[in-house]
């Protein structure tokens, strides 16, 4: 990850706060209050809020590396989601409440980190509603150490704000893309280090060509995820579908491959709870499914593409790059 004046202190903060022990504790049902308090006082929550109302005035492209770091450190709280939600609230002139906020783009499927959120910003299809989590009766999915939940109660409008033209899903999906990119970077690093250390047949397994090639493909996927996420977050909060689709289709498709290769090279130890690999790979799968998997976004993108007679390169330049 490129270290600059923004990412360097943020990375340090996450490294000290979200140690694997701390992540496990929150996942195990422990309190997240202290961790959240530290994140809140760091000032990063309002990174996207305009300076005139007390924020840092950054745009999405600036914070993309921060979202990657959140994925990299397996933060067990909806931190990127809260940063985005607070920006949308501020834009609508609403003062954001204290506490973590999740972005809810489906009332039928699990929302990552809903079990550790105080609020939800819900896309009802007509408007965005900010609701207290307690009133939504979140039902945990119940998988081991999972923090996802399905929202059981439809929220009633308490605080509402205008819905972006294509809804909240493109934005939420693109945030997931950046989280996937961050976790992919961590997994590539962990796997490379492990392959240089683990010795079988008298030499590090990373000396085996088949292992080298598997890791090379993993690095290709990792870079593709990073760059796709950067494409996704390059256009601001009012996100075009084609841009979000590129980001999420690319990262979701890569997520399963990256998780599979990371586990393959680690052998049995990667399957154990005690080893940190699972903290990242479980999230990859969760984020891949959330807010539309690769098939969902590819279909969205393909529909738009087929409705236009331009050449592929022209279409991509006009709808994704410009």
């Amino acid at each position: 990850m490129q270290m600059n004046e923004l990412t360097e202190p943020f990375g340090r903060l996450l490294a000290s706060l979200c140690t694997s022990a701390a992540v496990r504790e929150v996942e195990g049902g422990g309190s997240f209050g202290a961790m959240w308090e530290e994140l809140a006082t760091s000032g990063f929550l309002d990174a996207l809020v305009e300076e005139s109302v007390g924020g840092a005035g950054l745009d999405l492209a600036d914070v993309e590396p921060l979202f990657e770091l959140i994925g990299f450190h397996a933060v067990p709280l909806p931190l990127s989601e809260t940063i985005v939600a607070r920006a949308l609230l501020a834009k609508a002139g609403i003062t954001a409440p204290d506490g973590p906020i999740v972005l809810v783009t489906s009332l039928d499927q699990p929302v990552p980190c809903a079990m550790v959120a105080s609020y939800a910003l819900v896309d009802t299809g007509e408007e965005l509603i900010l609701a207290e989590m307690a009133g939504l009766d979140p039902k945990s999915i119940g998988n081991h150490h999972g923090l996802s939940a399905i929202i059981a109660k439809v929220p009633v409008a308490d605080v509402s704000l205008p819905r972006p033209s294509d809804g909240l899903r493109p934005l939420a999906a693109t945030v997931r893309a950046a989280l996937i990119a961050g976790a992919a970077a961590r997994l590539t690093e962990m796997s490379t280090n492990y392959c240089n250390e683990r010795v079988q047949f008298g030499k590090p397994i990373g000396r085996q060509q088949s292992v080298q090639h598997m890791l090379a493909v993993m690095a290709e996927d990792m870079i593709a995820c990073r760059i796709a996420a950067e494409i996704g977050l390059s256009k601001g909060l009012d996100m075009p579908i084609a841009v979000a689709a590129t980001a999420k289709a690319t990262t979701s498709a890569a997520a399963t491959r990256i998780a599979a290769s990371a586990h393959a090279v680690h052998g049995a130890i990667g399957i154990s709870e005690e080893y940190d690999l699972q903290l990242l790979t479980r999230r990859l799968h969760e984020w891949r499914l959330a807010d539309g998997s690769e098939g969902y976004w590819a279909a969205q993108l393909g529909k738009q593409r087929l409705a236009n007679s331009a050449s592929s390169i022209d279409w991509v330049r006009d709808h994704i790059f410009s």
Partner: protein, 381 residues
């Protein structure tokens, strides 16, 4: 890992070339059938290359005082992208513009630069790349073709193979052994410019499985080269070739080889009014966009003055995978609609790309070789 390999933008100052090159393409090539366009950067047309040179589209990365345009790799990306998107026949000037001229600029003498580079920029001096030999493919350091220094320069003996366009080119830049033995591998290799009209040079075209002949065998039988045939320093050929491969592998031609087929398939789906393959089209479009951004990000490393050998390998390996995946997806779609009429031209194009696609991950370094380079970049070798 690979921390500087991040999203970069084509500067708008280079986008100004796009309408101009499109205009030239529209004026020069609209009579070429689809399956000829699908030849992509294998299509050879000496006249078209000269037109490009005359109108200022060659030597974009090269200095003005050698006939270039001082514009840099981003400008070249824009022009090359448009040429590939149109399936323009660019092979004649391709290697010279892409890698021979930059090589001469980095390592050549002043006299060599003045002699060759302005003609390359005019599309008049055509180069081919003589690396592979019958016994040296992936293991390039094992080349046996030998140039012995003698009173009048170098005496060249040996053989190259798979040399693209040797039959139509003016010069070859050959990687040969100039000192030491084959056992010393990288040590003792040098790059020499061979005038392909010199006595003792024999070029034999090889026909490929589609009926085309682009690559050739080239035999050297006591070819006398002058002293100044040497590019750079004697014995430094391996390092020079490594730097050259960053230019050879980093361009958008490593992601766009099947783009003509993709466009033709999309037009077919639109013509028959089918949207049942929207997901497949979308997946390919997302991959195309991601690869384009990766290729621009790699170009940005060239602009920064680096030699992005590993980054180029990442883009090329993934890009050629995409190029090879396309005909397979499209073939399945067309074949799974047996009652739908298909234009013979589209079918011919599909078969052409399907048959030639294995070469995408061979030429310029095989998939396995590239993955080895990436692994080395990751610290695994």
């Amino acid at each position: 890992m690979f921390d500087t390999f991040r999203l970069a933008e084509l500067p708008s100052s280079d986008e100004d070339l796009r309408p101009r090159i499109r205009e030239l393409i529209a004026r020069s090539i609209d009579a070429i059938p689809l399956d000829q366009r699908a030849r992509s950067w294998q299509g050879f047309d000496r006249q078209f290359s000269r037109t490009l040179g005359k109108e200022g589209f060659l030597g974009l990365t090269l200095p003005r005082r050698y006939g270039g345009h001082d514009r840099g790799p981003f400008a070249r990306f824009v022009v090359v992208e448009e040429l590939l998107s149109a399936g323009a026949p660019v092979a004649a000037h391709w290697f010279a513009d892409r890698q021979s001229a930059p090589l001469l600029l980095s390592y050549g003498t002043e006299a060599q630069k003045e002699f060759y580079v302005p003609r390359i920029c005019r599309g008049e001096a055509l180069f081919c790349i003589g690396m592979s030999e019958p016994g040296s493919g992936s293991d390039l350091a094992s080349v046996r073709t030998r140039a012995e220094p003698n009173g009048s320069g170098w005496l060249l003996n040996g053989q190259k193979i798979w040399t693209t366009n040797a039959a139509h080119s003016d010069y070859m830049i050959a990687l040969v052994r100039t000192s030491g033995t084959t056992a010393e591998r990288q040590k003792g290799l040098s790059q020499l410019i061979v005038d392909l009209k010199a006595p003792g040079v024999t070029v034999r075209p090889i026909v490929d499985l589609t009926g085309d002949s682009h690559f050739c065998e080239v035999f050297f039988d006591n070819v006398q080269l002058a002293e100044d045939a040497l590019v750079g320093s004697e014995g430094q050929g391996w390092d020079q070739v490594t730097a050259e491969l960053a230019f050879e592998r980093s361009g958008p031609e490593r992601i766009y080889s099947s783009i003509i087929l993709l466009d033709a398939w999309v037009r077919h789906l639109q013509a028959v009014g089918r949207i049942d393959k929207a997901t497949e089209v979308g997946a390919l479009t997302a991959e195309l966009a991601t690869l384009r951004a990766m290729s621009i990000a790699c170009t940005a490393r060239l602009v920064a003055g680096e030699s992005p050998v590993v980054e180029a390998s990442i883009v090329k390996d993934r890009g050629t995978g995409f190029e090879q995946h396309l005909p397979s997806v499209i073939g399945d779609d067309l074949g799974s609609h047996p009652d739908e009429p298909i234009a013979a031209e589209l079918y011919r194009t599909l078969l052409y790309v399907t048959h030639i696609a294995p070469s995408f991950s061979l030429r310029g370094g095989t998939r396995e070789v590239l993955r080895g380079i990436i692994a080395r970049g990751m610290g695994l070798r």
